[in-house]
Subunit: 345 residues, 2 copies
Amino acid sequence: MSDLTHLTIAQLGEQRLLQKLYEYCDRRAVGDDAALLSIAPEYELAVTTDMLVDGVHFSSGLAKPGIQTTTPFDVGWRSAAANLSDLAAMGASPLGITVSLGLPADLPYLQVEEFYQGLKACLTQYRTAIIGGDVCRSAAWTVSITALGQVHPQRKILRTQARLGDVILVTGVHGASRAGLELLLNPTFGQELSREERDNLIRVHQRPIPRLDVPSKIWQIDPQARVAGMDSSDGLADAVLQICRASGVGAILDYDRLPRPQCFAKLRSFSEEEQVNFTLYGGEDFELVLCLEETLAVALQAQLSGQVMIIGQIQPHKQVTLLQRENSSQNSVLALEKGFQHFSG
Amino acid sequence: MSDLTHLTIAQLGEQRLLQKLYEYCDRRAVGDDAALLSIAPEYELAVTTDMLVDGVHFSSGLAKPGIQTTTPFDVGWRSAAANLSDLAAMGASPLGITVSLGLPADLPYLQVEEFYQGLKACLTQYRTAIIGGDVCRSAAWTVSITALGQVHPQRKILRTQARLGDVILVTGVHGASRAGLELLLNPTFGQELSREERDNLIRVHQRPIPRLDVPSKIWQIDPQARVAGMDSSDGLADAVLQICRASGVGAILDYDRLPRPQCFAKLRSFSEEEQVNFTLYGGEDFELVLCLEETLAVALQAQLSGQVMIIGQIQPHKQVTLLQRENSSQNSVLALEKGFQHFSG
């Protein structure tokens, strides 16, 4: 059936489309009114859902002409990664996802096939299957994914659980995805970087890695640990602010410990303020921002050396302050609504 | 905030929209990266998902002008009912739903509010909450619902479980939803009916009732029962054909026992063939089509008198035959692809 890939959705027809998409699904799960999944005894179910629309969240080239910064394969990968990242941020491990598609008649089927290949490539890494979905006609290509996971009731990561005395620990670096996007959009950006550095930033943008590995490391160190957190899909600053709001606390972040990609230092034409803006507000790095006791954070740092960083601590005063150690008169207060303005506070 | 209802989605803005929609959600479930749900010990999870697009599955009046046969409230009700019906068809009881919305900037917010009121009105009948979702911009109003339920592993209703010797039992009547739609579209249809009869057919079309009550009645009679089945959302004929295909069997249906609405008999201008077509192929009645042992079916019929009907039996020959008792030379064979043609041989 490989010659079907040059057809549009309308030419392929619903029956053949469904038959092709079934090949990407767990056959044991599809084919009845609902999919059935087993959950480990005593575990709770975690459910997260996302909708993506062509021309808003990605570009097939059909909705509006322009630069295609993400191939259909990458849109699939990112869609899967974003949902798995939400599960990781709860401390949950994935059970399966459902995928609903609204498809325009004139969309080339090849794009849908590549989208599923991207979805599957990401999901396979985490032994997660597509267990169901729906397909219908639509003016714009629309994707709705629901991811299901399981979490042990004593090992939930909740935004509300940050406490005074906690440190703030982040996985990975932040701003890489935003810089990767900039490399795709702006040919003058990043000329100081090596090819490998550029490719790496673009890879973070196109094929982010959900941090499903981190929660299990925490429970290995302390099965009773209390951990607050969320993922940094909407940016590092947003994550810290959301956790603080949900927990009724504030935070102090250490300016010198902001987890910037190392290669940012090479970007001579890229100002200090722009770098910090990418790191705090860039978003879509899909790392985890966690609040936990310092001893646990230090133990985790020892296990995952170089992959996590303690960047601050929880404070009682209900604001998020970015602390410039050298010159404390130039501290700033972060807000959800605005970007970071260097030394404005 | 009641005066917000005259605004468009763009005028309302994302923050106020989310704030309004949160009011329809289970507050304990929303506000983190994923919603958490408890499942009864040893139960399996049932997951079903549906996508609806304005101008394809319903009409807000925005996508294309025309007769609005379903209000936003009814679209909400039907969306909830369709998903709960899929859970009923597995023998599952509902745990919650997620709702993702793609919304055009110029959609009146009032329509979204009424849609949620309809969703909630249906869900409340079955103590089911909205536990999460997503909202994004879209050219056409798009709704994606995922419903979650729990089912006991020994009390699953599967399409594959029909066996020789089973009878075919259906709940309710079929063709009522299609007739209700006809009443809305065609002013000359149904003039022989009383107001109550007309209202009843329209109610079935606009506010169908998922048959979550039926599976529990079966397990009360026999906790070990093997039951095959699905819902009749795509029509009675489709359901019988799908079950037969999944189970590798065929079926004989009794023409005289087709579960038509009683009031069809009054429709003098509505031919016998049209009546049978509505009943077999109309769809969207959201009743259950079940295959089970005759003794169990008879016991269920005694409990739910008038609400269920034995309409045929499973046969080894892999086709679905509609048996005209009076004149067996005029039996028909049903197919998925075509409507019923009376006495076509």
